[in-house]
Symmetry: none
Subunit: 187 residues, 4 copies
DNA sequence: GATGAATGAGACTTCATTCAT
DNA sequence: AATGAATGAAGTCTCATTCAT
């Protein structure tokens, strides 16, 4: 990727994160960089294109943090990944805002990027579950539903973390795992 | 509310649900009803106004289904409410789509409507948890985090249900509750 | 004129005077009276119609104050009329504002009403001048130009009076007459 | 100022002068120039903005013609300025129409432009009067009132000149000055 | 006489995108 | 590679006026 392209992409990420897709205009981006309107279109087909590419980079960044940990410890894998990504959210709030407050249904392509990513995550959870079942440490369950639930729980907790309603990543990780593993019942 | 106002609101709900906030124009709404543009503005200040009102009605409708069940059975309350709302989502897919795929950050007012509603729901979960703890049937936990996680799990499962990835409400309810109550661990 | 018609006309005078022609809507008028929109159109053809009628009433009211005083004292007549109308302006500020800050060229009819009226006034000044000349107390001059100048001086002084930049009608009358009769030169 | 900006401004001046503020639309302006709607908004914030700028240019043009003539001849200064501006009115009828038939109270900003200008003119007259008094060639008078009256006389005579009711600038100047200096009385 | 819901023409404005330089 | 003036489709909203009741 050209230096200029990268420069525009980074600025767009920052600005989309601040203003959201719709409020941000192409002019905002180029003005912010002090370049010409036309320059933008040398590197990006249109506004949707750059937003999609921002999203793609973000999900790629998150994906790269997700680890397939040793098979003998599938639930440890879950915990590690949860911690890793929540930490990423806290370190890169722009990324977090874009992922967690994505405005659905502006453009099917956008939704597809996140959808694909979330499917990947759910797949990861599912294989952890299946492995766990084989090992006899995870009870029988509908892995589809459970992986969706785990992802949803994770995303909502991520939002609360972003908004400062949860004091620390550690608390969030612990509670998410306690809940997922042992549930709420006493004993 | 006037008959005409109701008529416009219902149509808007349907159309917003189909096309999303941005793709839908005021002209789409009035053309769909065969009325004049100006008529729309007799009843609604502008496009944001009607969208906000649609959201408000929806969250009111959901709220009215949420029951505060007998105190002696706080977790039964949780199950009843989960079932109730998931059923509502299946019966009224327009409502479900609008709530579950809300495009964040178009307008702070819109987000506030949902935010307020979700806070209400989390409050409900929290009091169920606290009551359960007092009764000794729920383990100690951070109710803030856990209620967020439960809500998130619920919303994501709702999405999968809406998309037909989960076969029935009963499966969804059962898995959500099993997960929340007993977690994933065997035994 | 019907009572209702009068009522609308008076309110319109007040409101046009406050907000000007363009900023005032027909809704403003009917809302202010608590009557229905349709009622307005029972008595007035349209918005232009009522504005024109307001103007017509005003110029008629001013005209009725203009006196053709005894021929032997044409310049006394001028003074009396100046005083009379400036007093009217001070007493009825709505009338004054409408006449003195008329927005030209919205509608030729509106301009015609004032134009006709101003022509009448200039005619009055002209005949005073001509009589004065015949009597040998007024110097030869181009009565067209002079009557326009006198009217213009009067109107501008009226505006200053309305805005409180001139302390009293008496001062205004005295200065206008001194200027018109004796000019500015010493001796 | 850019060439295109100037082009739009000049055309707007012409069109506002012909049709008045209200009847003229932004579309009229751009259609008349054969340019796109959006182009207008590259150079002007909105319709009010361009009208204000037209007015500002006009008063600046007139101001630049107003001279502070030698102190020893304050009344000569008055005459020169009157002649100068009336000539300008005759040469540039668009300018004259816009200044002399300004539609008051559409927008306070518009009125402020003219108000400021007229205050400047009155200030000029006032200082001529004060100088004249010091020199003993002007009688004692209320300079506020008199300067307003002189301005008003001038403006109304300007209108008559514009409408062809006064045959020439010279006649207008002579009568205005005769009236201002010597008044109407014989001898 | 009175109502007021409904109309719809018409104005304003934004902004993603193009293209000649 | 870069520019930025120009485009024009698309949208929002207002308000004078009508007409069935």
């Amino acid at each position: 990727m050209k230096k200029r392209e990268r420069e525009i992409l980074e600025r767009a990420k920052k600005l989309f994160s601040e203003k959201g897709f719709h409020s941000l205009t192409v002019s905002d981006i180029v003005d912010s960089l002090g370049i010409a309107r036309g320059t933008f279109y040398l590197y990006f087909k249109n506004k949707d294109d750059i937003y999609r590419r921002v999203l793609e980079e973000l999900v790629k960044e998150i994906s790269s943090r997700l680890k397939l940990l040793p098979l003998e410890n599938p639930l440890g894998q879950l915990r590690e990944n949860v911690r890793e990504v929540l930490n990423l959210f806290v370190e890169d709030r722009e990324l977090a805002r874009l992922i967690l407050y994505h405005p659905y249904r502006l453009n099917p392509e956008f939704d597809a990027v996140l959808e694909t990513f979330f499917e990947e995550v759910k797949g990861l959870v599912e294989s952890a579950l299946l492995t766990g079942m084989e090992m006899g440490i995870v009870r029988e369950c509908n892995v589809n539903v459970v992986s969706a639930a785990v992802l949803g729980a994770f995303l909502e907790v991520g939002r609360e973390l972003l908004e400062g309603k949860i004091p620390s990543v550690e608390v969030a990780v612990d509670e998410l795992l306690e809940l997922s593993l042992k549930g709420l019942l006493e004993g």
